[in-house]
């Protein structure tokens, strides 16, 4: 490994311990939560209430901080220098269900770990000299795609409003901070007289806005934790039949929700154990029918939020009429072209050819779907949206603290500190606000004149 003069390997990440679910959600019966950082081994030992021998598999009962049993599983630890990140690492292998994984994660976070960012395990491995240059390229892409997946996930969970809502809460918080900070820096300006009651009121209503957003986002995380697949194609190519086949054969329908519009049918199912939401869309074609046009508009709005689009082609139709006009698929992240009606016509140059009538090609379709979804080995896709939830929740804790400080008439500087931290948490999602930005707001809102 080459040594790089710019980097002190252990000093590059502020000594935080990170945690993430390291297996794709639902796939298989075993799920792994991985921890890396100075506290990793200590946290694992606390969770299974015993000392762990390095690099030995230990069967243990896994508990949370309160001592409640959350799972039973195998725990492995690796000391610094002997792990894939180069830091102390612990792996907790539990039962793979989403609920169990969530509980194990929660227990690790309670004990001082923080949720890993997309690609962060690989990032640390890289920064600690555990990868070569060729692998480094992949790490950068991993981080980039991880944050894009997070953005896509956030977009999906709130049909595009997520960032707008976080930004709007950020703006309200900025408005409150402006007054608190102005009160501190410009005490001689009379208009900035103490207004504790009003501030408490505003913070309380800000918290309820945040709670609402948090609720929606949590739901988004729960429902959308797997992947979203959209089925598109011209009318009558067998889209709905494919949906029925996928859900019927796999026989694991979690819920069948009639579309939020009458045109989008959403079905949650598990594909080889992986939770997936499949959305059936209206047939895409140019139309002058108002109702049909609205259905198509809604389908198009949803497409960019899907992790994978199955574009269905009709193998029977005359060449040229079978394919979807590429204009419909602009902005889609990943497209799998599927030729249907293989029982009636010869295969063509699609990615996969199937027959929903006979079931031919369905196994290969499932393989391709899982391959295309390409869940990241360190579980970043899984944690991406969960991190948003966590950041929002942390922001809320600081807001709550600020209200308590205001109510007990504790010093304004403490209130200001809690509000700063609450704002920084929102900034992790939508970008930070600088001190100069804050001052600019103060000066444009108040006539500061001495």
């Amino acid at each position: 490994m080459s040594l790089d003069p710019f980097f002190e390997p252990r000093a590059t990440h502020g000594e935080e311990t990170i945690a993430a679910v390291a297996t794709p959600p639902g796939r298989g019966g075993i799920g792994v939560v991985r921890l890396s950082g100075p506290l990793a081994i200590e946290i694992a030992q606390t969770m299974c209430r015993r000392l762990l021998q390095p690099r030995h598999a230990t069967l243990a009962r896994i508990c949370n901080r309160a001592g409640d049993l959350v799972d039973q599983g195998i725990v492995l630890t690796f000391p610094a220098g002997a792990s894939f990140t180069g830091e102390p690492v612990a792996e907790i292998q539990g039962h793979g269900g989403p609920m169990v994984m969530r509980n194990i994660m929660q227990a690790a976070l309670e004990l001082g770990a923080r949720m890993a960012r997309p690609g962060e395990f690989s990032e640390r491995a890289f920064l600690n000299g555990r990868m070569d240059l060729a692998q480094a390229e992949a790490v950068a892409d991993l981080i980039a795609s991880g944050s894009q997946a997070a953005a896509r996930g956030a977009l999906r969970s709130l049909t595009g409003e997520f960032s707008t809502l976080v930004l709007s809460i950020g703006r309200s918080l900025l408005a409150i901070r402006v007054r608190v900070e102005a009160g501190i820096d410009f005490p001689e300006e009379p208009l900035l007289a103490e207004e504790t009651t009003a501030q408490v009121g505003e913070l309380v209503s800000l918290r309820s806005e945040l709670a609402e957003l948090l609720g929606k986002t949590r739901q988004g995380v729960r429902l959308g934790q797997g992947a979203t697949i959209a089925i598109v194609g011209p009318p009558n190519v067998g889209k709905s039949s494919l949906l029925n086949l996928l859900s019927g054969e796999d026989n694991a329908i979690v819920s069948a929700i009639p579309g939020t519009t009458r045109d989008l049918l959403k079905v949650d199912l598990e594909l080889r154990g992986l939770p997936i939401r499949v959305i059936d869309t209206a047939g895409l074609r140019d139309t002058s029918d108002v109702v049909e046009g609205e259905g198509i508009r809604r389908a198009l709005a949803m497409l960019p939020t899907a992790d994978l689009v199955l574009a269905i082609e009709d193998l029977v139709a005359a060449s040229g009429e079978d394919k979807l006009d590429p204009k419909w698929l602009e902005g889609c992240s990943s497209i799998l072209r599927v030729g249907n009606k293989l029982d009636l016509a010869p295969a063509r140059h699609a990615d996969i050819n199937i027959s929903v009538h006979t079931g031919e090609g369905m196994e290969r379709l499932r393989d391709s779907i899982l391959e295309r979804l390409d869940f990241e080995p360190d579980g970043s896709t899984f944690t991406a949206r969960a991190r948003h939830v966590e950041a929002l929740a942390r922001s809320d804790v600081h807001l709550k603290q600020a209200i308590e400080l205001l109510e007990t008439r504790f010093g304004a500087e403490f209130v200001a500190e809690e509000l700063r931290l609450a704002h920084e948490c929102l900034g992790e999602i939508v970008g930070r606000v600088s001190a100069d930005g804050l001052l600019g707001e103060i000066f444009s809102n108040f006539c500061i004149g001495k």
Binding site: D4, L127, D132, A140, A144, P187, E188, G411, L438, K450
Partner: protein
């Protein structure tokens, strides 16, 4: 002619930056020369006669903790002292003093004259002596050459100064000072970026023509605070009151009518003024809904009747100034002694400086004060101190010293300037400091004096006094940690009565201080033989402890990020995964370290990770 004496450090300019720079370099044992246009104006307060205020007094305390002179001189000249934010916590409490201009000047001059290793010489500097891209001395007006390996320029607003009163303009430095054209031209020839700023002053008023009886009286605080850790109120001169009056609807009407004649609104002034200190015409235009603004009536000194009406700075024509002053309650008969004016001036973009304030263009040349785009005596003095220390360190062959953002407001100031530059006169505010809770007035000495001692800038007298204070605090901390009140003791009962809180079990006294309702004053009432000052310090430390510890985690991360340099030629546009907005900002700012990138508005943790990985990747690819 070459002056026969050789110096280590030459400081050009005898204002607040120059005085601190010269004194600091001399304290560190460097043979120092202070060159000034006029010995009479050393330590001159050229704007309002006040020191301190929120954020600014924090700087004075830090200068003082490093044995600088502003706090001590301020105490010798202060005629009105107040504690601002007294009702808020200690982190944001600040001291403000009105000063007698001439007493302050005298105090600074005497302090400089008393300093060993420091010489003063009166003569304008017209040129720099340069050899191999290093400065080696200066040339004065009469052709005298002074040689030194380090030169600190603290020449204020002398560059391209232009004074505006109504439509009339003339070139000049501060009112009364001649601008030094030759040196300015020399500097302009060097590769420094230049920006233009604006500031202003109000008309001064003869106190004998003012009716104080209709104004709100604002006496100084009692007990009276001090600016320096080394002072007591006993050193203060006689005290004076300040007054507050207000502008009114007719003031605003006549200003509105006169706006077409204002150089600010006719387009005559191009420089950007401070947002936090707008002229009265600015206030009336930008905050049209307000029908009254405060005017702080500040005495200029003990032996003068002149007043500084703070809050009505203006560059309107003189006839409008007269009318607007007369429209204000208590000023109906006021006589204006000096007209108000706006001054436009050039400054050197501080992004062309290193954090030591040494210029990138010329080795050994340092810039400090208003020349770097700051405003305020305190900001100037702070830079002077830092430049003086680093100039001395450099000639002694020692490593530079620049405090970090979490160590001192000095660090916030220099980091903001050097990283971001400024497009308005830069002023310190506590909200600029992320770690405000630890950067307090009360602990500036605890934060900085030991470092100052190591650097050699803190003298024996202050060091002894610091050590005694530190020992008292540590001893008290130890005592309170080893003292417990039994739940049934009379002290516990007394405390319960005083604070309204309950004591269900035996308690360490130090733990009691953690409760918000238990204050130092309560412990003073129930414990004997306690030093109130030390107790206050222990209380503050205990009350802030939780927050400080939480910040420690954040600071550790930032320190790690500070060690990571970002290549200057990184092509941000090509970095996959960054938003376009961030790509643009990064390309523009070109942050030098990851910590600096983290402070860019709009930055996210994921984007930082990307920068880190790309930087590392490049370093690997180049075979490092």
């Amino acid at each position: 002619m070459q002056h026969p004496e050789r110096f280590d450090v030459i400081v050009v300019g005898g204002g607040h930056a120059g005085a601190e720079a010269a004194h600091a370099a001399a304290r560190m044992g460097a043979k120092t020369l202070l060159l000034t246009q006029s010995v009479e104006t050393i330590g001159q307060m050229s704007c309002n006669p006040a020191l301190g205020g929120i954020g600014k007094s924090h700087l004075i305390r830090e200068i003082d903790a490093l044995d600088g002179i502003m706090g001590r001189c301020g105490d010798l000249a202060g005629i009105h002292f107040r504690t601002l934010n007294g009702s808020k916590g200690p982190a944001v409490r600040a001291t403000r003093a009105q000063a007698d201009r001439s007493l302050y000047r005298q105090a600074v001059r005497r302090t400089l004259e008393a300093a060993p290793n420091l010489r003063i010489f009166q003569q304008s500097v017209v040129d720099l002596c340069v050899e191999h891209e290093r400065v080696i001395g200066v040339v004065t007006q009469m052709g005298l050459i002074f040689s030194a390996p380090a030169v600190v320029l603290t020449t204020g607003t002398f560059l391209g100064g232009k004074i505006h009163i109504g439509g009339a303009t003339h070139s000049g430095g501060r009112a009364g000072d001649p601008p030094s054209i030759a040196l300015a031209e020399r500097l302009r020839a060097l590769p420094f970026r230049v920006g233009r700023l604006k500031t202003g002053t109000p008309p001064r008023i003869d106190g004998r023509t003012v009716d104080y009886s209709v104004m709100e009286r604002q006496p100084g605080d009692s007990p009276r605070p001090v600016l320096s850790f080394m002072s007591t109120p006993a050193v203060h001169p006689k005290q004076r009151d300040c007054f507050i009056t207000h502008t009114n609807a007719s003031t605003h009407d006549l200003i509105r009518e006169a706006l077409p004649r204002s150089p600010l609104y006719s387009g005559q002034i191009e420089g950007r003024g401070p947002r936090y200190c707008p002229s009265i015409e600015d206030k009336i235009v930008r905050f049209a809904g307000k029908d009254s603004h405060q005017v702080f009536v500040e005495p200029e000194g003990l032996d003068t009747e002149e007043l500084y009406p703070n809050g009505i700075s203006t560059s309107l024509p003189f006839d409008v100034q007269l009318a607007l002053v007369h429209s204000i309650r208590g000023f109906e008969q006021a006589h204006i002694t000096r007209p108000g004016y706006a001054i436009e001036y050039d400054f050197f973009d501080p992004r062309d400086l290193q954090r030591t304030l040494e210029t990138n263009a010329l080795g050994g040349l340092y810039f400090a004060g208003q020349i770097n785009g700051t405003t305020g005596y305190e900001e100037a003095a702070a830079q002077g101190l830092l430049a003086g220390i680093n100039a001395a360190l450099k000639i002694q062959g020692k490593p530079e010293w620049v405090p970090r953002r979490d160590e001192a407001y000095l660090g916030v100031l220099v980091d903001d300037l050097v990283s971001n530059g400024t497009n308005e006169p830069y002023r310190m505010f506590t909200s600029r400091a992320e770690y405000r809770l630890r950067l307090r007035e009360d602990n500036a000495d605890l934060r900085l004096t030991p470092t100052g001692r190591e650097l050699g800038v803190v003298g024996g007298h202050r060091w002894d006094s610091y050590r005694a204070k530190r020992e008292r605090i540590d001893a008290l901390h130890h005592r309170l940690s080893n003292t417990s009140f039994a739940a049934s003791s009379t002290q516990a009962e007394q405390l319960a009565m005083l604070t309204g809180s309950t004591f269900s079990r035996d308690q360490q006294v130090i733990a009691l201080l953690r409760r918000p309702e238990v204050k130092a004053e309560h412990l003073l009432a129930v414990l004997d033989d306690i030093d109130a000052q030390s107790l206050e310090q222990v209380e503050i430390e205990i009350k802030y402890q939780g927050y400080i510890e939480r910040q420690d985690v954040e600071i550790d991360r930032i320190r790690a990020h500070e060690a990571i340099r970002l290549p200057g030629d990184l092509d941000y546009g090509s970095l996959h995964g960054l938003s376009n907005e961030l790509k643009e900002k990064l390309s523009q700012v070109r942050p030098s370290t990851l910590a600096y990138a983290a402070r860019i508005p709009g930055m996210t943790p994921a984007a930082l990770s990307l920068l880190l990985v790309h930087t590392r990747k490049r370093a690997m690819a180049s075979g490092a």
